[in-house]
């Protein structure tokens, strides 16, 4: 009885993600920064990732978000991604690689003076869609681009 109660407590502490009960065994306590969105980074599928970031599968596509990424990435370990938009009051830009074990690669919180432009390099395990999730004026929009990967970046 008591043991069950522990499990429920553990589950609810992780923002009540679907399927969390299954992965509860994988949740190892580690040093976590206050603002680091753990639930979003722990999500192992795109639906949960989008949900943790305030979006959903129905988040509207926006033509105003530009993803600059190679059509074919020869080396999945280093895939350059640039996301730019001309939307106003952008609060955050997130980069999601659909087929990665943990789809969320990076999430950028933009301060008042920041321009809606970020560029970085990410690892991709296999060919997948890259989703750029942009939150601006309290609304969430996304854009998608497929990147073909010839050599995965997660093997070793």
């Amino acid at each position: 009885m008591n043991h069950k109660r522990r499990l429920i407590l553990k589950g609810s502490a992780t923002a009540g993600l679907v399927g969390m009960a299954m992965s509860a065994g994988l949740l190892i306590p580690r040093h976590v920064l206050a603002a680091w969105p753990k639930a979003a980074f722990d999500a192992d599928n795109v639906g949960d990732t989008l949900a943790a970031l305030g979006g959903s599968a129905d988040t509207p596509e926006s033509g105003d978000i530009k993803i600059k990424a190679p059509d074919i990435a020869e080396n999945g370990a280093v895939v350059p991604i640039t996301i730019e938009t001309n939307m106003q009051n952008v609060e955050s830009i997130s980069i999601i690689a659909e087929n990665n074990p943990a789809p969320l690669a990076a999430s950028f919180e933009l301060g008042p003076g920041a321009e809606p432009y970020v560029s970085t390099r990410i690892k991709m395990g296999q060919t997948a869609n890259i989703i750029a999730l942009v939150r601006a004026d309290g609304k969430t929009m996304k854009a998608t681009k497929e990147v073909k990967v010839t050599i995965g970046g997660c093997g070793g």
């Binding site: 040093h31 680091w36 990076a106 003076g113 432009y117 970020v118 560029s119």
Partner: protein
Amino acid sequence: MSTIKIRVKAKNDSVEVKALIKHPMETGQRKDSKTGETIPAQYIQEVVCEHKGTKVMTAHWGPAVSKNPYLSFRFKGGSTGDTIKLSWSDNNGQSDSLEAEIA
């Protein structure tokens, strides 16, 4: 030597920051090919850029950001001669920071 290499340039009315950080960005999924043991995860979780005490940009990263990460972003309101501070911290509590002058 700092783990951070940074270039900050004022362009028109905005400032472009380009940074390279030396870090293994270990995912925790790879195995050592000799011992077969899993290599523990070690990756940067947060990168913060401050200009005049204001956080211009905060990046939250997962292990999917490439080894020796590259980062570029732009902000308004900075001018030549100002200093910016870039700092990172990883999941093991390691961190570093560097100040640079806008050129």
